[in-house]
Point group: C2
Chain length 394, copies 2
Amino acid sequence: MLSVSEAVTTLLEQGERLAGVETVELIDASGRTMATDLVAPIDVPPADNSAMDGYAFRFSEWPGAGRGIPLSQRITAGAVPLPLEPGSAARIFTGAEVPPGADTVVMQENCEETAGEVRILKRPDSGANIRRQGQDLRTGQKVLPGGRRLRAQDLGLAASLGIARIQAYRRLTVAVMSTGNELRNPGETLQPGQIYNSNRYIMKAQLEAWGFSVVDLGVARDDPGAVREMMVQGAEQADVVMTSGGVSVGEEDHVKDVVESLGSVDLWRIAIRPGKPFAFGQVCSRPFIGLPGNPVSVFVTLLVIARPFLLHCQGANDTSLAAVRQRALFEKKAGAREDYLRVRMTEKGLELFPNQSSGVLFSTTWGDGMVRQRPGEEIHSGSMVEYLPYAIFN
Amino acid sequence: MLSVSEAVTTLLEQGERLAGVETVELIDASGRTMATDLVAPIDVPPADNSAMDGYAFRFSEWPGAGRGIPLSQRITAGAVPLPLEPGSAARIFTGAEVPPGADTVVMQENCEETAGEVRILKRPDSGANIRRQGQDLRTGQKVLPGGRRLRAQDLGLAASLGIARIQAYRRLTVAVMSTGNELRNPGETLQPGQIYNSNRYIMKAQLEAWGFSVVDLGVARDDPGAVREMMVQGAEQADVVMTSGGVSVGEEDHVKDVVESLGSVDLWRIAIRPGKPFAFGQVCSRPFIGLPGNPVSVFVTLLVIARPFLLHCQGANDTSLAAVRQRALFEKKAGAREDYLRVRMTEKGLELFPNQSSGVLFSTTWGDGMVRQRPGEEIHSGSMVEYLPYAIFN
């Protein structure tokens, strides 16, 4: 059996950037993956500016506390300052550019202004209250790495550098299909023997939350011809083909044979629970991911196994997850596989959903994350365990 | 000074559901806030079904290990089973409905099938390998609370219950504007005294990531008439009006006076760093949020103060955040305010970005979260501190 980390590593090795590069307006680039390093084209701040509402003067001309200095100009944010006249001070506001010649700003709370002059009541430090040109970022500095999935603050940083558009990887397109004669769509009436298809909803919403485009192929009947037709259609329209269900080696499971006829497939024995069976291969030269049929297994393998692979194919440079250690309020025997336990965080620690069966999707909606129980790890009430909030999988 | 939690509590008390309710197709409902409780309309599973590929029989008819039982039917997933003939067994596949009369399934690995009969090599437990009707969810059970922001797994659960559309709150609309003569848009050429507007990008991307619609008003000049005109426009088009900058009481700050003339405003003294000044009020009967001007302060107050208020106005039932405790690899003296330190998680613990100035937006893109340093809390290298990954603010 492959360990989970071996499975992920193997997938990352086989994955390649599948999507081309395109120019994207920065204002629309949230969630997109940057294709190139972002290097600062200017200094930030672009010039010395005032950190306060106050008065700018030349420190070497300090006249003594309470002595008047004539005011020679008034500089608001956005205005172009004149060189500071010798022996004078400038009224200045937060964010305004410090005039050439001035080297110190004193905050207005320490001043009195009357009839064209200012008296500074308390001597400031030389150079005080000025944000220096290039203090935050220097021209030529690498500020965001290629492969970064852009968050709000990343867009803000790029904007502060004057960047209006970036090179981003085209959105990865994933075709998703489910298999099974028993599956009905919500809204339809269930006949005996039928159940509603939940995997379609999990896959589509989760893939879209990661920023991928989804081609929603629907449900294929348990019939090799139907599965084949849908799979070819998926490979024509998408970068990656993903299925749920039908991937076992049972008499009624046709996905494996069909994928083999269109490319290649391996049934992986991954030491994960829930999560069996998981298949990986190629369909018409596209990567193929075969998720299990049980909805909790779909959810867990999507987050733990498929996510890093897909993000890697999208061009992301970092797909790792930082688990945090939290106190368990439950007991769980050690097992041979890596177990993803659905839990809920409370003030006192993590509570376990009582039914961890892979069929019980309610276990994933009841709480806010999972505990990763390593093979052989015993969990006692009070143990510090690895907690993975669902939110960090985004 | 208000503590951060007092500020948030006060805002939540003043906030109300601002958006009406509409019907949304479940497949499009990811990230939407559900307006009503979801109650299970059916049992899940809807009938007893097989957890394995195997053979279903009546346990009371157990013939003894290795004795043949005639096969009377073959039941695939999705098929309608006939009542089980007395003295017979049914071939059955994973997910298929168990025939009336059968009460036990034995996995195929423990059987031999030949010429129309099956020999069970090992006696199973009575009732084994059957997922019982209603085992996961019972008709009438409340499964998702009104106010839930729907995640992929929540959609999956609703789908498994046959729900095709839900009642959701209309998306909250937030109008955003920045103020300042010094602000230029990325792509334009900077003149002396000018800087690029980053706040617009932070606000728009973050608000959209939370699922809100954004009315992007642009930049208003530091002029009361211009600020007023833009603000009225925002109040006409959105549920909430949000500004960055211009909210102080300086000579060149006009936002406060304009908001007062159109409604009411309070400048809040919140014990947060970065994050001053923060204003809250009403513009033309819409809630008004005045964020600071410095980009890091915008980012922090947006996440810490504005987020719970806006999500509450959107109808969300839970806006709390669960911080996790992590080891600090840095020293930080105690302060009087609640400090949101930008940090990076490493294998050994949390590293502090060296420049925590509110002007240095790079501090927010360098790492993956913040440490909440409570007023009076000393941090030493090795201290366990409250860590808030950016991802959990989603």
